[in-house]
Amino acid sequence: MATELRVLDDGAWISVDNQRRVPNSDIWPLAVTDFCGCETAHVVLEAFTDVGVDRDGVSVQAVGQCIDCGTEGALDWLAVGRVRDGAFHPYDPAELRPRLEPGNDIR
């Protein structure tokens, strides 16, 4: 059965199969994405604007701000988890995943 994904409550969270699985307000480190001038941007996700799936990877569009330099911006498809055997496994926001960052052409 297809995984149901949606953004709800003004972008507060990502629903995966009717469960609140990814909240806003976590800080995600970005080493590859050209988000700001910081070597590693630490971006607090203020609100999600879209969610999608590419094969088994679940990614979001979101607006956020680097907590170190204050740069505000939009993230275009940040990977937040994956679906395996029908179950969603969220990524730990604190872990760096350069291969899965927005703007990484390897992906």
Partner: protein, 609 residues
């Protein structure tokens, strides 16, 4: 493509939701199909039920939205009794205990920790008292706001209450207006001071006077027509559309050059609501509020479409407004700032405004206040947009006895300015969107400021609004000091932080705050406010210059230098990621320790059932 939310709404919305709430209440939380929960929780909002944030599954916030915040005699007691019986959670709040009600910035009341199983009994109790939760949340007409003392105010141009009740009666439960693209916030104000805050609503009716030819009925009048010259000055309302504070996109409502008599108000308001229904964006909820349609069209086109398609009589052009008289939150040191204190009513009685710090009243305290309202006044209690309450119809001979009531020691009619000026939204205690803890933090801020900061001479009112995110439920952009939730890094660790904005307010020339200093660690904010006020006192032109005038005379860089965040004796227990707790104040606060979902008796239910 319509959103999922629009799809759910098109399938079932409005009053049809009620029977399903009752069905699930009968069969229990577990009976809500797991694969339908997003849809049902979205629909429940229409009946004022909002599922609390992650970690608090099975618990709901319930909002009760009385028109204009007027709770008729007996109604406040009913809400207090409901709060005492049903609004308790699995852990206490260290400031407020367990069982309280929250007065909101839109003159509503919110209860938390409500179980679905208890909702029918609560609905029955509310309806027996003449109250409802209908359309308190969701994409429809919310409770109409206005001057909290409408009909009992010495500064009134026109009594707006009859118009508010007519709009409420026509558009609550009205299938034609039940499913709008987004929420629909309306303000109707009749007082001369501007305290209805119409500028920040989707639709604002503001007091005005229009000379209308006596030989014309309202259906044919036009300012540009010659008429007979025998004009009759009519009191009514000018219409503005498209205000709102959310999403980092604040807008003041735009003048669409329309005057309505009280008799026309419902037809024109319904026309604008129908216009929004037909032309609002249903494909992108972030672009759905009517403020964005006004951005796109401009007020002239909106007026033209309203005239051509949604109103079957000729609209009047705007009348003479009273905006130059607006003193409410207008930035003048001697202006009107709230409705706290003892004030005369035109009928010789008094209304007594009580300060409610961050809007939260313990259930037992609320019962005591209901007793006091019954004993010393008419029993009516009104809610204000500053999260305060007003007891009305107090005869002169009862005022001293009312002021001597023990409950008024805490809910004071003469509070310290830092207690009086504090507003806070719900925050991460319950809200999914908020980034930081708010209510308890603002209580701690207010107490510390009261104990440690001397206000500059002549400053008797000072508004500090704390909002947990850009949704702006605490209306931060119209405060003297605006605080907005964010994160930053301190000593190498991420911590809760606040952006600091200055210079916001309403009045004839409303102004949104400018965010001059961002990402201040939350424990350094009280020091920043202390230093800013000291700099204001040292540098202002003279003692008559208000804080807003002081801010307006400086650019953002100058102001940023005056803020000076600093650690002080203030201690902030909420610097960690409070959103990643099930309840920020629980002894064992991790999400894994959450007792939710739970039955009404508090027994945890297996999430896997």
């Amino acid at each position: 493509m319509p959103t999922d939310v629009e799809q759910w709404k098109s399938e079932l919305y409005g009053t049809d939701i009620r029977e399903h709430i009752e069905r699930f209440a009968e069969t229990g939380w577990d009976s809500i199909p797991e694969d339908e929960r997003d849809a049902w929780f979205e629909r429940f909002k229409w009946y004022g039920l909002y599922h609390q944030r992650a970690g608090q599954e099975s618990y709901f916030m319930m909002r009760i939205g009385p028109p204009n915040g007027v709770l008729e005699p007996g109604q406040f007691r009913t809400v207090a009794e409901i709060a005492k019986e049903y609004s308790t959670g699995p852990a206490a709040n260290p400031e407020f205990g367990n069982g309280w009600l929250d007065v909101t910035t839109r003159q509503a009341i919110q209860l938390h920790w409500i179980n679905i199983e208890d909702v029918p009994a609560i609905f029955d109790a509310l309806e027996d008292a003449g109250l409802t939760t209908m359309q308190a949340c969701g994409d429809s007409w919310r409770n109409i706001v206005g001057c909290p003392v409408a009909g009992k105010d010495e500064h009134e141009h026109v009594d707006a209450l009859p118009t508010i009740h007519e709009l409420n009666d026509r558009f609550k439960g009205n299938a034609e207006h039940a499913n709008l693209p987004r929420k629909w916030k309306v303000s109707v104000t009749g007082c001369r001071e501007g305290c209805g805050q119409g500028d920040i609503n989707d639709l604002a009716l503001e007091p005005a006077t229009k000379t209308i030819d006596t030989d014309e009925r309202s259906s044919s009048n036009n300012q540009n027509s010659p008429g007979s010259g025998d004009g009759e000055a009519r009191e009514g309302f000018n219409v503005r559309v498209g205000g709102g504070l959310s999403r980092n996109e604040p807008r003041f409502a735009r003048d669409i050059d329309v005057f309505v008599t009280p008799e026309q108000a419902a037809d024109v308001a319904g026309g604008i609501s129908a216009l929004f229904r037909e032309y609002g964006d249903r494909e992108d909820r972030y672009n759905a509020r009517i403020k964005f349609l006004v951005d796109e069209w401009g007020p002239e086109k909106l007026r033209d479409v309203l005239q051509d398609e949604f109103v079957d009589f000729e609209l009047h052009t705007a009348g003479e407004d009273l905006r130059s008289e607006y003193s409410y939150n207008a930035g003048e040191a001697a202006g009107k700032h709230d409705h706290v204190g003892v004030h005369g009513q035109p009928d010789g009685n008094n209304y007594v405004g009580l300060n409610v710090l961050v809007g939260r009243i313990g259930a037992d305290d609320a019962l005591d206040i209901a007793d006091a309202a019954d004993e010393h006044g008419s029993g009516e209690v009104r809610l204000t947009q500053r999260q305060n309450i007003v007891l009305t119809d107090v005869p002169d001979e009862n005022v001293d006895d009312l002021l001597a009531e023990p409950a008024l020691e805490h809910y004071s009619p003469d509070p310290h300015p830092f207690m009086r000026g504090s507003i806070a939204c719900t925050g991460t205690e319950f809200c999914s969107l908020s980034i930081v803890e708010t209510k308890n933090r603002q209580v701690r801020y207010a107490r510390w400021l009261k104990d440690n900061v001397e206000l500059p001479a002549g400053v008797e009112d000072f508004h500090i609004h704390l909002s947990g995110c850009t949704a702006s439920c605490a209306q931060p952009q119209i405060a003297d000091i605006s605080l907005r939730g964010m994160k930053t890094r301190k000593d190498g660790e991420p911590v809760e932080a606040l952006d600091i904005g200055l210079g916001g307010g309403l009045g004839e020339e409303p102004q949104f705050a400018s965010w001059v200093t961002e990402r201040v660690p939350a424990d350094e904010v009280p020091g920043a406010i202390r230093n800013l006020l000291a700099n204001f006192e040292a540098q202002r032109a003279d003692e008559r210059q208000s804080f807003r005038e002081f801010v307006a005379a400086r650019d953002d860089d100058e102001l940023a230098e005056l803020v000076e965040p600093e650690e002080t004796s203030y201690d902030d227990p909420f610097m960690h990621n409070t959103k990643r707790t099930w309840y920020p104040y629980a002894d064992e606060d991790s999400l894994d320790d959450s007792p939710a979902p739970a039955s009404p008796d508090g027994e945890p239910l297996s999430a896997d059932d």
